[in-house]
């Protein structure tokens, strides 16, 4: 109950345990071998370890689908691609670190199972699926992609006994295994996201039975039987689904997944989901930044897959097309796209290279066979060998630039810790902003043990881990009303906020302010989202977004800003005493370096808060909530 005060949180039932179980078992295994690595180091290095496993699995997967050559290229590419590295750096102890490995491993076993049709491989696929379910909410992608694959095989007439064996066993054993995770519970039989898998399962049974009958009867007999049974079956199935949906037994699509199908849904209805920056649509620049060469080699690989259609190729094609769509909807899903991009590019490059390598003549062409081959050579295009050399050189240059790009991107964008910031001063020396740790340590040592801290949810986990204090909302909160209450407290004028803060039992309030240092992802920039989320519930009806814009409709903090903005708690907390300080040469006092404006409301006193701590570069500001008046004569 240190999180989400006063609601508390049932950790067991609201989290995917895979990551923690993996880290713990690795720790115990190492200690069993008497290699005593501290648990923190195990956690820090878990993600890179699992990305090495991912490289191996990508190799296995691509060599199953295409050839060993393609496997090698794909494995090399995924080892350095920025799209994957961004979520698997050392220290990023998040679900995605192991989830991608589990996902690709499940796909590899699925392809093995559908190729051989053996019960053993299908069982292993189901167990790998269980591991995937335990590690990430993105397992929904798997449980929809595999039935989609089976459905496509049925439509294209490639449905064989092997596919039947593979899918039915994977689905049945996989489903009952997935229900062992408390967070998933009974979702596989109740929510719409899993209904496709169930539907395809039923369809498999019917299809296989129909095949069996067809093999044993003459066509006329079969047609009679078929027509009769089909009408009955279709009516029955239609009725059951209709009644089940109508009675509400099958829950409709939940918000997070529904917004993948209809991207405008979250923006209009659920501001919390819309406000997360990782949920924004992806720009072309991000695609190129994270994937470079693969953006161009991807269609090439897709073409070669289409040229030789096999069951496994169809799966890869479906995976590629669906991932591209989802990556376009949400930046965060770029991670799911990166492996399949590598696989496709690997296939493309490998086939290109092998086509052209064959044509490179070595200088000792046998002279005796020249006359006989003359006729055949006339039909080929001239200077075959030269063109082939040029092509191979071009591909080599592309691959070299890819490596340079990846290492540069990783160095620039994904190698800095986000808790300690660094910048270059005017004279080129490095300035370190250690404000976050300074502030959290202050909280840890200077506040009572049971103090409750209110901040925006981005900093919840950091406060819990480093300052060891109870918080109101954190990164995992899905309780819209609770977050909305915090948003209302931040956006309302002081008196109103005081009642909300007393209701939530808050002792300290923490804000991040970038105006002094130029740190641009501070709370004033996030303030608009707080307003939106605060105004989205009934208690926040007095908070309207338009009130916080200036008269010309812009988001301003200077004297053009609206009164609601100037009086809000967030404004007062960020800019308290800021009006007296000089931030830049030649600018007036109170110059906000992020918004590039001089603040409007400079001289004010705080009525309900008192300043408790401001860090060195004014990045983190902590305020103590004043007690109620002793004699209540306000």
């Amino acid at each position: 109950d240190r999180a989400w005060y006063p609601l508390g949180r049932i950790i067991g039932g609201t989290i995917y345990p895979g990551l923690m179980v993996t880290a713990a078992s690795l720790y115990h295994f190492l200690h069993f071998l008497n290699i005593t690595i501290d648990i923190r180091n195990v956690c820090v290095f878990l993600a890179p370890l699992f990305s090495s496993f991912t490289v191996i699995v990508v190799y296995l997967l691509t060599s199953e689908v295409k050839s060993v050559g393609a496997g090698l290229v794909a494995a090399c590419m995924i080892a350095i691609v920025p799209g994957y590295i961004s979520r698997s750096v050392a220290g990023s102890y998040d679900n995605e670190g192991i989830a991608i490995f589990c996902m690709l491993f499940t796909y590899y076993l699925w392809i093995k199972a559908s190729k051989t049709g053996s019960i053993c491989w299908s069982l292993l696929c189901a167990v790998a699926y269980f591991y995937m379910v335990s590690s990430w909410g993105g397992y929904v992608f798997l449980i929809n992609l595999i039935p989609l694959h089976v459905l496509t095989l049925m439509i294209t007439g490639r449905f064989s006994h092997r596919t039947y064996v593979a899918y039915c066993i994977t689905y049945c054993v996989g489903t009952i295994l997935s229900m062992q995770i408390p967070f998933v519970g009974f979702a596989p039989v109740e929510t719409s996201e899993h209904m496709a898998a169930l539907g395809v399962f039923g369809l498999c049974q019917i299809y296989a039975f129909v095949q069996y009958l067809r093999a044993h009867m003459s066509p006329t007999n079969f047609n009679v039987l078929f027509r009769g049974v089909m009408t009955v079956a279709l009516i029955g199935v239609g009725l059951t689904f209709g009644i089940a949906s109508f009675l509400g037994k099958i829950a409709p699509w939940t918000g997070r997944f529904y917004s993948l199908l209809d991207p405008s849904y979250a923006k209009n209805n659920i501001p919390i989901i819309a406000s997360v920056s990782e949920h924004q649509p992806t720009t072309w620049a991000s695609f190129y930044f994270d994937l470079q060469l693969m953006v161009f080699m991807f269609p090439v690989g897709l073409y070669y897959c289409f040229r030789e259609l096999t069951d496994s190729n169809i799966f890869i094609i479906l995976y590629a097309v669906t991932s591209i769509y989802f990556a376009g909807v949400m930046v965060r899903l770029m991670l799911v796209l990166a492996p399949i991009m590598c696989i496709m590019s690997g296939i493309g490059i490998s086939v290109t290279l092998s086509t052209y390598m064959k044509n490179i003549d070595s200088n000792e062409a046998p002279a005796s066979s020249v006359p006989a081959k003359n006729k055949k050579k006339n039909t080929d295009y001239p200077i075959k060998s030269e063109i082939a050399t040029v092509m191979v050189t071009i591909v080599a240059i592309f691959l070299t630039t890819f490596v340079f790009h990846c290492t540069w991107v990783t160095n620039e964008a994904y190698s800095s810790p986000s808790i300690v910031l660094a910048a270059r001063g005017h004279d080129g020396n490095r300035i370190i902003f250690d404000d976050f740790r300074e502030a959290y340590n202050w909280l840890k040592f200077n506040t009572p043990e049971n103090a409750k801290v209110m901040s925006w949810w981005d900093y919840g986990y950091q406060i819990t881990a480093m300052a060891n204090r109870t918080i109101i909302v954190d990164n995992n909160t899905w309780n819209n009303t609770h977050i909305s209450r915090v948003g209302q407290a931040m956006a309302s004028p002081e008196e109103h906020s005081y009642t909300i803060m007393k209701e939530l039992d808050v002792d300290y309030v923490l804000v991040i302010f970038g105006g002094m240092s130029g740190y641009s992802s501070d709370d004033i920039n996030k303030f608009l989202w707080m307003i939106r989320i605060g105004g989205s519930t009934p208690e926040g009806a007095h908070i309207k977004e338009s009130d916080y814009y200036s008269s010309s409709g812009e988001y301003k903090v200077d004297k053009d800003g609206s009164t609601a903005m100037h009086n809000s708690l967030m404004y007062k907390m960020c800019y308290y005493r800021f009006g007296e300080s000089q931030t830049e040469q030649g600018k007036p006092t109170g110059w906000d370096r992020v918004r590039n404006q001089e603040i409007g409301n400079k001289d004010f006193e705080l009525d309900v808060l008192e300043e408790a701590f401001t860090s060195e570069h004014w990045l983190v500001r902590i305020y103590k909530v004043k007690d109620l008046d002793n004699r209540g004569n306000k």
Binding site: G117, I119, C120, L123, Y164, T175, I176, F186, M217, T220
Partner: protein, 119 residues
């Protein structure tokens, strides 16, 4: 030139023909598996009817029992497919013995999970 106009056979004729062909053509081993499948299907149907009558109170128990029946049925069908001599071309290097061994292994895992889930 003989034109024979045959009327479509009735449903009863078709079904009876199917049944007689089944009993003569299929090998003994497959009929054994089919009997086992029939038994599993009855178990599943009985569970479902019980649930409809009594309600789903310990839902996890009902689900685990029902899924156990469904999964056993599916595994039995897979075993039947893999031991059918007509399908040897489809399943390269899976001998009948290997199919049976896989079947047993899968049942071990399945029942382990069912035991955990039945609560």
């Amino acid at each position: 030139m003989v034109v024979t106009a045959t009327s479509a056979p009735s449903m009863v004729e078709v079904v009876s023909r199917l049944v007689s062909e089944y009993s003569t053509r299929t090998p003994q081993r497959l009929k054994l598996i089919d009997a086992y499948l029939g038994y599993i299907m009855c178990t599943g149907i009985i569970q479902f009817i019980y649930c409809c009558l009594v309600g789903t109170f310990p839902f996890n128990s009902f689900l685990s029992g029902f899924i156990s029946a469904v999964a056993s049925f599916v595994l039995g069908v897979c075993l039947r497919i893999q031991s059918n001599p007509a399908n040897v071309a489809v399943f390269k290097d899976i001998s009948v013995e290997r199919a049976f061994a896989d079947f047993i292994f899968a049942h071990c895992v399945l029942h382990l999970v069912v035991l955990n889930f039945i609560g």
